[in-house]
């Protein structure tokens, strides 16, 4: 059947089972919006294109499906850029569709023209400019395929508005044929055998699990490998939820703000089993000093992640779930009794703690969210201290329950991502653990959350400053607090919430924290709680930049 490009796009999205699109209209996507008017796909009108990109990303992280966002050419497209870069750094499957000026105007500096494929080339897994209406269906098919397979990532499709209006026969291809793209899923059997032997013979093994284990749904296999063989598990920020924090083998997060026991354990280990993690600088600290005694097994779907920073002894390129399943059949249980005893010693010597007094401390707020939900919630975070406290003090027990910008560290990510997560998982309580700085970076999405009835709970850990930067200034810049002071009363978050039709609360006392969270959970609307927390509170433990990760500072607490 003949149809125009805009209609073809919608038909393709239906074929890909797209339930929801986040976006914003504009001049060069009018034909697409005309089709969306009566399409059986939910469209979420965000109040900024950046919000749309983050919401699509949050939806993808919470559900595992491809998130879709849509914006017009020029400024619409460039406003997506931070969201696309965020998804790229964390390997999140996303398809971003942008309108472009008419084909014959491209290159003329036309009104609202931007070379968005050029701009996004280094922050997308792949991108396309559709130059021929007959390519459109194939390109959309490829975009979803590339975004969701191998190491996932964002794909951008730029569609000139004249192509949206041209007509052709709609044929959706059955399968993709891309000779340059063929991810490896099955690990090399010989390498898996070597890994099994190394694990069976190890004395101080540790599982180091990252976002890749979440992406390929490998949590069950991680659980088997760990619990059947008594191997302790540490996770990266994006790996949280891959193994339940309530389990005695769980060591929590490692790295710059990881637990002391996770950092000591990986540094003293004789075998690291890295699963879908990429040894980034926030995890390894000083590279030359990292885990000097360890043999390294690295299971990753991206060959370029292997030996990029830390040299790997037994690389296994493949899908972590498939590889671990095979590995689990071969591993003979190593004797880790002494090792676990040593780790227990560290757990006792260096527990995660903060000053337990009558003051309203941010860590306590996060703990109370856990207590109120028992871990059955999706925790989105902004970036900075709020993010680290959420990672440290919320016990993640299930995959896809943390939604946080790890690689790019994007302030303003958490709230729109929470809206996306809530749309994907409407039955789960969804929180955005925020700071008073980052929440203001996409605060306009309060309108979206209220109008679209995505009742997320925004927990502002309000310390009237840009806490993480302030912390670095305190520790490393002689307390010269250069431009990190915000104002506690501007804005008035309670009134701000109310002006959007959300519910606002302000909590200043520790004893009122739990009541407020319980109340927020009962309200079927977006709730903003302004927790006035201690300004001086810092995130500890902390590894100073460039140090070995067992050289932590604890702020006098441990």
């Amino acid at each position: 059947m003949k149809m125009n490009g805009a209609k073809i796009l919608i038909e393709c999205l239906k074929k890909e089972n797209v339930e929801v699109i986040f976006g914003y209209p504009g001049g060069q996507v009018l034909p697409i919006f005309d089709q969306l008017y009566d399409a059986p796909i939910r469209f979420i009108l965000t109040r900024h294109e950046q919000g749309a990109a983050h919401a699509a990303d949050g939806y993808a992280r919470a559900t595992g499906k491809v998130g879709v966002c849509l914006a017009t050419s020029g400024p619409g497209a460039t406003n997506l850029v931070t969201g696309i870069a965020t998804a790229y750094m964390d390997s999140i499957p996303m398809v971003a569709i942008t309108g472009q000026v008419k084909s014959f105007l491209i290159g003329n500096d036309a009104f609202q023209e931007a070379d968005i494929t050029g701009i996004t080339r280094p922050i997308t897994k792949h991108n396309y400019l559709v130059e021929d209406i007959n390519d459109l269906a194939r390109v959309i098919k490829e975009a979803f395929h590339v975004a969701s397979t191998g190491r996932p990532g964002p794909v951008l499709v730029d569609i000139p508005s004249d192509i949206q209006m041209q007509e052709t026969e709609f044929v959706y291809p059955d399968k993709v044929q891309m000779r340059g793209y063929n991810p490896t899923y099955n690990g090399h059997p010989g390498q898996i055998k070597r890994a099994a032997k190394a694990i069976s013979g190890s004395k101080r093994p540790i599982l180091y699990v990252g976002g890749g284990a979440i992406a390929c749904d490998a949590a069950d296999e991680v659980y088997s490998l760990a619990t059947k063989n008594d191997i302790p598990v540490t996770m990266t920020l994006l790996g949280l939820g891959a193994f339940p924090m309530t389990h005695k083998l769980a060591l929590g997060m490692l790295g710059m703000h990881g637990t002391a026991y996770a950092n000591h354990a990986i540094m003293d280990s004789d075998l690291i089993i890295a699963v879908g993690a990429r040894f980034d600088d926030r995890v390894t600290g000083k590279l030359e000093a990292f885990a000097p005694h360890a043999t390294v097994i690295h299971i990753d779907i991206d060959p370029a992640s292997v030996s990029k920073t830390v040299d790997v002894d037994i690389p296994i390129v493949g899908d972590a779930a498939i590889v671990l399943k095979q590995l689990n059949k071969m591993v003979k249980k190593p004797d880790t009794k002494d090792w676990l005893k040593t780790i227990d010693g560290w757990k006792k010597t260096y527990p995660m703690k903060y000053k337990d007094d009558n003051k309203l401390r941010p860590q306590y707020v996060v703990e109370q969210i856990y207590e109120a939900t028992k871990g059955n919630a999706i925790i989105c975070t902004e970036v900075g201290q709020n993010q680290m406290w959420a990672a440290q003090y919320f016990k993640f027990i299930k995959p896809r329950t943390i939604v946080s910008s790890g690689g790019l560290g994007t302030m303003g990510y958490g709230f729109p991502a929470a809206i996306g997560a809530k749309l994907g998982k409407p039955k789960m309580p969804v929180f955005d653990v925020a700071g008073d700085g980052s929440i203001q970076m996409n605060i306009q999405e309060l309108a979206t959350a209220v109008i679209e009835k995505t009742p997320v709970k925004i927990i502002i850990l309000n310390n009237s400053c840009l806490g993480m930067v302030r912390q670095w200034q305190e520790l490393f810049y002689k307390k010269r607090y250069s431009y990190t002071k915000l104002c506690a009363d501007t804005p008035d978050f309670v009134k701000l919430a109310e002006s959007y039709g959300a519910v606002g609360m302000r909590i200043t006392k520790k004893k009122d924290v739990r009541k407020a969270i319980d109340k927020a959970l009962k309200i079927n609307n977006t709730v903003v709680i302004d927790f006035r927390v201690e300004q001086e509170e810092n995130v500890f433990p902390m590894v100073p930049a460039g140090e070995a990760i067992n050289k932590m500072i604890s702020g006098g607490l441990a």
């Binding site: 280094p122 897994k125 130059e131 590339v146 000779r179 340059g180 060959p303 370029a304």
Partner: protein, 171 residues
Amino acid sequence: MKHTISVLVENKFGVLARIAGLFSARGFNIDSLAVGETEDPTVSRMTIISKGDDKTLEQIKKQLNKLIDVIKVVDFKEGEFVDRELMLIKVAVNAKNQKDILEAVESVGGRVVSALPSSVSAEVAGDSNKINGLIELLKPFGIIEVVRTGRIALGTGQMGMKADGKPEVNE
């Protein structure tokens, strides 16, 4: 260490920008890059000369392979390939030294492509030694312009590589 890398890519709009962008974004070095169509018009072949230690080269290969439009990457080892470059060079000339310049060009197997009263332009194709040799020979006369294509390389024997990325079949 210098490496000669052959890359088969989709002959599509924007591919050169993807490759060049990858090198600059990741801080990889490019000495030269030459690109042109292969026996299959849908496939282009690039020859990239890059410097770096083994770890860097490993990353270059892996990152290139990650690009969707890249079909195959080969890092040639010494003795596995032949490489050539073409140079056009323009030299100032006068009545006295014209003969010396012509001799220099001929001594490396080059050819004069344009001779004017004030300048001579010559072409020479060959490996780097030959090309750099001619530049040295002509320097004393006053070089006006140099244009080089960058090296192109072809695998020999087992290292042959057709446009579909498959090795050539040895009869």
